[in-house]
Structure formats: structure tokens, C-alpha cells
Amino acid sequence: MNNIFVYCETEKGKIADVSLELLTKGRELAKQLNCKLEALVIGHQLLGIEKELYAYGADIVHLADDERLAPYRTLPHTSIVVGLFRDEKPQIALFGASSLGRDLAPRVSSALKSGLTADCTSLEIGDHKDTKGNEYKNLLLQIRPAFGGNIIATIINPDHRPQMATVREGVMRREKLAYAKPGEVKMLDVNKYVRDEDFVISIIERHLEERKIDIKGAPIIVSGGYGVGSRENFDLLFELASVLGGEVGASRAAVDAGYADHARQVGQTGVTVRPKLYIACGISGQVQHTAGMQESAMIISINSDPNAPINQIADYSILGDLSTVIPRMIKYYKANSK
């Protein structure tokens, strides 16, 4: 009772990266709170999957296994999560801020009338004293940028359980235990939780696309903002990235304007990256964006505005136009590299 639960997503028998990241974080929180870490997997043909979850620190693994439960559909998964949470009364429940998690978690929070904080960038344990003098010990501090990333808010959920949060992929570290110890599997009685009406939405066709663009692992990222000006101008960034052996990223403003694909978006609503070198081209540097790249080992900003906020976190800020600067960088790189 009162443990930490992580809803683990699977696709074709593989656990999603974001779920393993949440287990890593959950294990740290469980240690602080001196409670157990429990994983919940809902799908089909799951047996065996628990080993991977033990490796990331799950003490108890709940499996809801039924052919109707894969692929994911909102209503049956909601019924199981809500039913299990009513039985087990977790104090904290974590979900990936994925398409699936952002479909499921709000529905669960509404059914349980508990709060939910989306897209947390940090989760901590802390105390709180409200204005009436009530004291709360060991709350989950759910920290996230808000207002387009211009403020950082710490959200708490003093009186309702579970305290629920979603976190995007790549935000938390993923780390296996040095010595994993086997935990306990609990097979759930699916029919206790789901009703026939939960299957009213039918999936006619599903087409998964392999993730073609993966900027998360790139050692060098050349990223463009709204200041790049057009999709065509992004070609220049692709050229530099290809010469340096990197990938192309983009700010939300550039993606919203249609200059780059969403898969390339860096920042709070995109991916979080920590490359060796991050070159920010025509990016003003709103927190929405910098939240996802400020841990880069080196940051170079190219901007025609000397006062762009990005310059304040850049190691080098180049004042100039991309169409001049990038070709020169390529030229002098080629001239000086072996």
C-alpha cells in the first residue's frame, strides 16, 4: 500500500524507453520515501517482461494480460489502472508524457479526482506548509515550465492520492541496477476491472513508423529557430550538420512554422538533448527551448540580434547572418580538419 507506481508502455513486447526512465526515477523516490516501486504493464503475451523491470528496480510487477488489451485502447486501460489504484492506493503514480500516457493519465486522474501534472522536468520529495498553517511531509514536488516556458512552477497535490505526473522521454536518466534482485509478479484478473463497454472504440488499422529521425543520440546538433526564415533555409543547417557528422534540430517556433519536422523539436514539448556541441541558429532562446538543450557541453549561438537571450547561455555567440556564417564555418572546418 502507498507505494510508487509506474505505468509501463510496451510495443511488440518491448518496454518503452520513457517507462524505464520513470522506473529509474521512481526507484530513487521510493528509496527516499522508504516505500516500494511497483510497475504496471497492460497488454498481451507479457510473461517474461518482468525481468527487464526488475533490472530497473521494480519490486512488484502487475501484469494485466489479455488479447483485447493490445494494442492500447483508452477505456480498457483506464479501467484497469483506475481499479488497481483504488485497490492499491499508491501515493505516487508516474506515466510517460507520450501519445499514450497523455491520453491515459488525464482520464485516470479525472476518474480518481486526483491531480495530474503534465510534462514535469524534475520530480523531488519535499515538505509544504500552506497559508493556513497545515503542514505536509514528503510531498511529490512536480516541477515544470509553464506559460510557454517563461516560468518554472512547482506543483503539489497535498490532499489527493495518488500524486500523478507525466514526464517526457529523455528528460530523466535511465540506469539499470548494478545488482538486480528478482521481485514479485502479480497477475491481475482482467475481467474484474474491464467491462464490455470499454471496447466500443475499435482500431481498424495501425501503421507504426520506425523512428527515422533520432536527434537524442547525436553528438552534434545544428538547430534552427524561427529566425532561419524558411524550410529552404534549413538546407544550410543540414549541410553543416552533415559536414560535422551531426543531426538537425529545431525550436518549437520553427516546427510550428513548418520549417522542420516535429521529430526534430528540441525543448519542453520536444526532446531533451545533451550533445557535445549544440549550434543554435536563429533561435531566440525561450526557456521552452533552452530547457531541452542547456546541458549541452558546448553551445554556439548564431544570431543577428546581439541581445537574443540565447547568447547568455552560449559559450560562443556569433553576431551575423546564417547565410554568411554557416558557409564560412563549413569552409574553415574543411580547411583545418584532417
Binding site: 512552477a153 495501425r206 547568447n311 556569433i318 564560412r328
Partner: protein
């Protein structure tokens, strides 16, 4: 024959957080929220377009906007009317203030119960909070299924709807039975522009509160044209438990807000001159950052 539908579009007025210009920054480097323009939440416009297309293909269908906010949020309803909606309701009451997503969903769900639509369409998320919670939570409160991340409607006949969902790593075609809640992605078709006829017809659309500052002749002109009235609903107009509205009904509390201030770190300033570019690239190669 497919019967005409009654569609409600959920829309929100939001501060334009996407392009925070210098004018909206304070001397301390924080954002002055009051200086940001208030706009129609972008994905809600995609939701409106999806509803208007269903209306185009199914004569007799009506599209009504529902928004919650302060009095000035009536702008959102007018904008919707100018683009082809048939009406709109403004949910406004001090008792709604301070609502988190759960209390917001509760108020909206109570209003929808009164409207009794066949289909509810909302944008996936609003740009001021980016939570994407209200759509699914409204669906849960109404006991209706939800289909999120909709990009396209393939068919909507005989109370069944088939749509394409755009997910992170692929697409899904799903089918469901009305009534239900759809949330719409920015990848769905953009909203049509204002229509000149609609603009003429609805430019004087106003709420009762807005009429209070007008003179008698104007009010009379207004009262003769009932379609110009934008209804305002407060807590007493919708059937709900008062403790579930606003701040009281919000399980999440804001413990602390930190304005983001850009930390100045030592930054080398370079020009785009050949000499600067050459020494930079040499330095990066020398310290193994590149190459």
C-alpha cells in the same frame, strides 16, 4: 440518411506565449504576461475547422463554441462566429477562477450536459499550459469515449465516426459510436478564414455584460436580433456541485513560481568575419569538440 449533428467545439483564449518579444519582457528579464496578446488557442482552430467540415457535408448540423474564461473571452466566440459557427456560450463566473485542469473539465462537462451535443471536438492542448488534459477529462466526466490526436475524419454516418489518429510513432484508424469526444492535432487542416457574410452578420454579437456599457438604442437594436446574443453561463446556470468548481475543486496547487531569469555566463562574442570563423573552427577541432 444521416441525421444532422449538434456539435460543440471547446475553445480557449490564451496568451500568445509562442513569440515573446522584447516588449513583453520586464527589466528583470522575466515575462510580463499582461503584455502578451490574447489569441484563439491554435489547435482549437483546427478543432473548429473539423467541426465546420462535418457541417458542410451534413446539412442541418450546427456548430456551437463553448469557452470558459473572463468576459473578454467572448472574443473567441465572435471569432468562431465569423468563421462559420452557429453560436457560442461563454462560461464565466468568479467561482470558476483558479481552476486546474480537473476543475476546468468539471465546469465544462456540466455545461455540456445542458447542451446535450452528439459530438464534442477540442484542440489537443492549449499553448499556455500544454497539458492536453482537458479533452480526456471532459470525456471521462461525461462518461463518453475519447479519440485523441485526430488528424482527419474519414466518415461520419449513422452515428458512427471513423478517424485517423496521429501518434508519435505512427498512425491509427479508429472507429467509434457517437456521442464521443475528439481532440484535434495541429497536423489537421487549418481553419478557414473569416467569412465576409458571417462577419457582417455577427460583428455586433455581444454578451449581456458587454451590452451594459452601450446606450439604449444599441441595446434595443441588439434585443431585436436574438442571434447576436452570446449567452453567459455562471455556476448557477449549470448543474454542478459548487465545491468542485474553481480553486476549491482543484487538487493541484501551485507551491512556487519562479520567473525564469536568464543567467549570464561568460560568453565569447564573435563576428562573422573570416578571421573569427577560422579561429573558432580551429579551436573546436583542437579541443576535439568536432572532427
Amino acid at each position: 440518411m444521416t441525421k444532422p449533428l449538434k456539435i460543440v467545439v471547446l475553445a480557449k483564449q490564451v496568451p500568445d506565449t509562442r513569440n515573446v518579444g522584447k516588449d513583453a519582457m520586464t527589466a528583470e528579464g522575466t515575462v510580463n504576461r499582461a503584455a502578451l496578446p490574447a489569441i484563439f488557442n491554435p489547435e482549437d482552430l483546427h478543432a473548429l475547422e473539423l467541426a465546420l467540415r462535418l457541417k458542410d457535408s451534413n446539412p442541418g448540423t450546427t456548430v456551437e463554441l463553448l469557452t470558459m474564461g473572463p468576459g473578454r473571452a467572448a472574443d473567441i466566440i465572435r471569432e468562431g462566429l465569423f468563421r462559420g459557427a452557429d453560436g457560442g456560450i461563454l462560461l464565466t463566473d468568479r467561482k470558476f477562477a483558479g481552476a486546474d485542469t480537473l476543475a476546468t473539465s468539471y465546469a465544462i462537462a456540466c455545461a455540456i450536459k445542458k447542451i446535450k451535443p452528439d459530438l464534442i471536438v477540442a484542440g489537443r492542448q492549449a499553448i499556455d499550459g500544454d497539458t492536453a488534459q482537458v479533452g480526456p477529462q471532459v470525456a471521462e466526466k461525461l462518461g463518453l469515449p475519447q479519440i485523441t490526436y485526430v488528424e482527419e475524419v474519414f466518415s461520419c454516418e449513422n452515428n458512427r465516426i471513423a478517424v485517423l489518429r496521429r501518434l508519435e510513432h505512427g498512425v491509427e484508424t479508429v472507429e467509434g459510436k457517437l456521442p464521443l469526444v475528439l481532440t484535434v492535432n495541429a497536423s489537421a487542416p487549418s481553419c478557414r478564414p473569416r467569412n465576409a457574410k458571417c462577419l457582417m452578420k455577427y460583428k455586433h454579437a455581444k454578451t449581456v455584460s458587454e451590452l451594459q456599457t452601450q446606450d439604449g438604442d444599441y441595446i434595443e437594436f441588439h434585443q431585436l436580433r436574438s442571434y447576436l446574443n452570446i449567452p453567459e453561463w455562471g455556476v448557477s446556470d449549470i448543474d454542478g456541485e459548487e465545491e468542485q468548481f474553481g480553486l476549491k475543486g482543484s487538487p493541484t496547487k501551485v507551491k512556487a513560481i519562479k520567473n525564469v531569469v536568464f543567467q549570464v555566463k561568460e560568453s565569447k562574442k564573435l563576428s562573422d568575419a573570416d578571421t573569427d570563423m577560422e579561429s573558432l573552427m580551429k579551436e573546436l577541432i583542437a579541443n576535439h569538440t568536432i572532427g
